[in-house]
């Protein structure tokens, strides 16, 4: 007996819709076993991760705040992945965006600038993120170097640059030697959507990004090009689509969105630049993109779900004394199941016995 895959004659639409839900169900089942193995009450632990955060207003706000950068980055990554361009370094592009925008805030600190400052900071963050993403894209297009490895190496470089700036030239002189810049002036911080909460205007930009990507993919020639280059590279060449230029375009867009997410985090919820500004948003966004089936609206939903695991993880740390890394385990398992379930859309799994194989053989 062996396990074999049979290509389906047509894509199963029902499975395409059901597969993310199936992946989540399988993840919950696996986590039940993991929690039991750790000596926790599985039902109680799952409730802390996936239900408690949904029951109070503060946690719901936090889910929205955490989902915002995830969705924004994942929307850009989805464009890349659809075009078969592998940007894995969104985390670095996020950091560079945060650095570029914060540079302006640090320079203008205490000068009482006009209302132009914040929009320029956001623009600088997006441009810097795009420029940083173009490095691996150009290396791929010009020299054929692996965009995967180069974008990843640049994550470490960006992290070290951030560390240098907040410990060195940009450190707040009045900050008791903590590695942080001064708190941003009010002209350099994002306004809140609801007074007294943490829900900030960045959420609106995220929703705009989702809408723009939906239109781009579904209604424009560029979106068509992305889909054709990704699914049928040969057909794309015959149609005269330039795959190299598409790599540059999609990397630039995804880098810009990651950079924008970075400066929004700093100018919004955090309020100053410090060594750790992201709990791995750039990497988690990869899971968000796949769970959302590389579709902007799907990504909106999956971003909220992944944000739930972050908030649940924080609560589990307090209530169950489970380490923060449990969130990473849940996210990794979820990505495996998402990919596995996606495979079922293309293939049918069959158990095949050797005897049957012999019947179809050449004899």
């Amino acid at each position: 007996m062996s396990l074999v895959l049979e290509r389906r004659s047509e894509r199963s639409v029902a499975l395409a819709l059901a597969s993310p839900l199936l992946a989540i169900a399988l993840t919950l089942a696996t986590m039940t076993i993991v929690f039991a193995a750790l000596g926790q009450n599985p039902a109680a632990a799952l409730a802390v991760y996936f239900i408690t955060p949904l029951t109070d207003g503060y946690s719901l706000q936090e889910i929205a705040v955490k989902a915002s950068p995830l969705v924004m980055i994942a929307v850009g990554l989805a464009l890349c992945y659809r075009a078969n361009a592998w940007n894995i370094g969104a985390e670095g592009q996020l950091l560079i965006g945060a650095i570029a925008g914060s540079g302006l805030a640090v320079m203008m600190h205490g000068t009482n600038p006009g209302p132009w400052l914040l929009p320029v900071m956001l623009l600088a963050g997006a441009l810097a993120g795009a420029a940083y993403a173009l490095i691996p894209a150009l290396c791929k297009v010009k020299f054929g170097a692996s965009e995967i490895l180069i974008s990843l190496m640049l994550v470490y470089v960006a992290g070290l640059l951030l560390d240098y700036l907040v410990r060195g030239p940009w450190r707040d002189p009045a900050g008791f030697n903590f590695p942080t810049t001064a708190e941003f002036d009010s002209a350099a911080t994002l306004p809140l959507l609801i007074a007294g909460s943490r829900v900030h205007a960045g959420l609106i930009l995220t929703l705009i990004a989702v809408a723009a990507a939906t239109v781009l993919l579904g209604r424009t020639l560029k979106g068509f090009e992305i889909r054709v280059v990704g699914t049928a590279p040969r057909a794309a060449r015959f149609a005269g689509f330039n795959a190299d230029r598409l790599v540059l375009t999609t990397f630039a867009i995804s880098g810009a969105l990651a950079g924008l997410a970075g400066i929004i985090e700093v100018a919004g919820p955090i309020g100053h630049l410090q060594p750790d500004i992201s709990p791995g948003y750039g990497f988690t966004a990869i899971i968000v993109a796949f769970l959302g089936r590389l579709n902007p609206l799907g990504i909106l939903a999956s971003g909220l779900f992944l944000a739930l695991t972050f908030i649940g993880g924080e609560q589990a740390q307090i209530a169950l004394k489970l380490p923060q890394d449990m969130t990473g385990v849940i996210q990794g398992i979820l990505l495996f199941y998402v990919l596995a379930c996606d495979s079922l859309i293309l293939y049918r799994i069959r158990w095949r016995s050797p005897q049957r194989k012999a019947l179809h053989g050449p004899h």
Binding site: L3, V4, L5, E6, R7, W86, I88, I135, C139, K142, F143, G144, A145, S146, I148, L149, I150, L152, M153, L154, Y156, V157, L160, L161, D163, Y164, G168, F283, I286, I287, F290, P323, Q324, D325, M326, T327, G328, V329, I330, Q331, G332, I333, L335, F336, L339, A340, D342, S343, L346, Y347, I349, H360
Partner: protein, 305 residues
Amino acid sequence: MGLIEAILLSIVTASTPLLLAASGELIAERAGVLNLGVEGMMLIGAVCGFAGAWATGSTAIGALCGIAAGVALSAMFALATIGLAINQVAAGLALTILGTGLAGLIGAPFVGENIIAAPHLWLPWLTDVPLIGKLLFGQDALVYLAIGLIAAIAYVLARTRTGLILRAVGDDPASAHALGYNVAAIRTLAVLFGGGCAGLAGAYLTLAYTPFYAPGMTAGRGWIALALVVFASWRPGRLVAGAILFGAVSILQLHAQAIGLGVPSQLMSALPYLATVLVLVLISRVRRGGSVAPAALGTAFVPER
């Protein structure tokens, strides 16, 4: 011991985990499977290696625990990419995310604990030869194991039937399948071998490199090992040269910091990553036009019936 000798010794120590991880990945990639999960497998190998040695007091058992952990994690990857034909890039990333999380979970109680580092083998007389004595005859056992491993890989790939079949599966799985070879089984074994090597490479970090475990202690070495395979053009001999080169960059970076060149320490720490980018670009540029990568690298193989 002179400074030069000390630097050379530490370069060998820094090169060994890179060589081990890259050797395993070389075999997996030669069979046509790109496993981007090396960083995750190394990290889990580091934790399990430490845990094994901590519980038993034995470096050898620690090393075996590291190997077993790497194999177990790579089995998940094999099931996903070979059994279910999942995209290898995405599955490799999932493996790294999962491995990092699991390592943090398993390693939490071990942070701050210490073990005795793997002993160095001192051969009488030979180790006393100036300069090269300790370099050639005074390393820990895992260094010699890594060298033996890469020599064996070079021999098997170039001279044996097994090597021929492995390369055929990586270059043209459809033909290998038509000839009656079990592509899925061969690829699975190659991936498991790669996982074992990555696990051992991680274990080397906690067993010989530093006698303690710290979260995220691989610090991108798994990714650098992946770049090394590209740098080596999938050839074992060049892999050794590349590992020593990268080991040297990471050690000289430390020494440059110690003597205080007036350069920010973060810039020096960024050197290995910047060197990797530079090397990838230069290598790809030289090779532009004729790729030497296994032809079927990164593509799933599902036999049509």
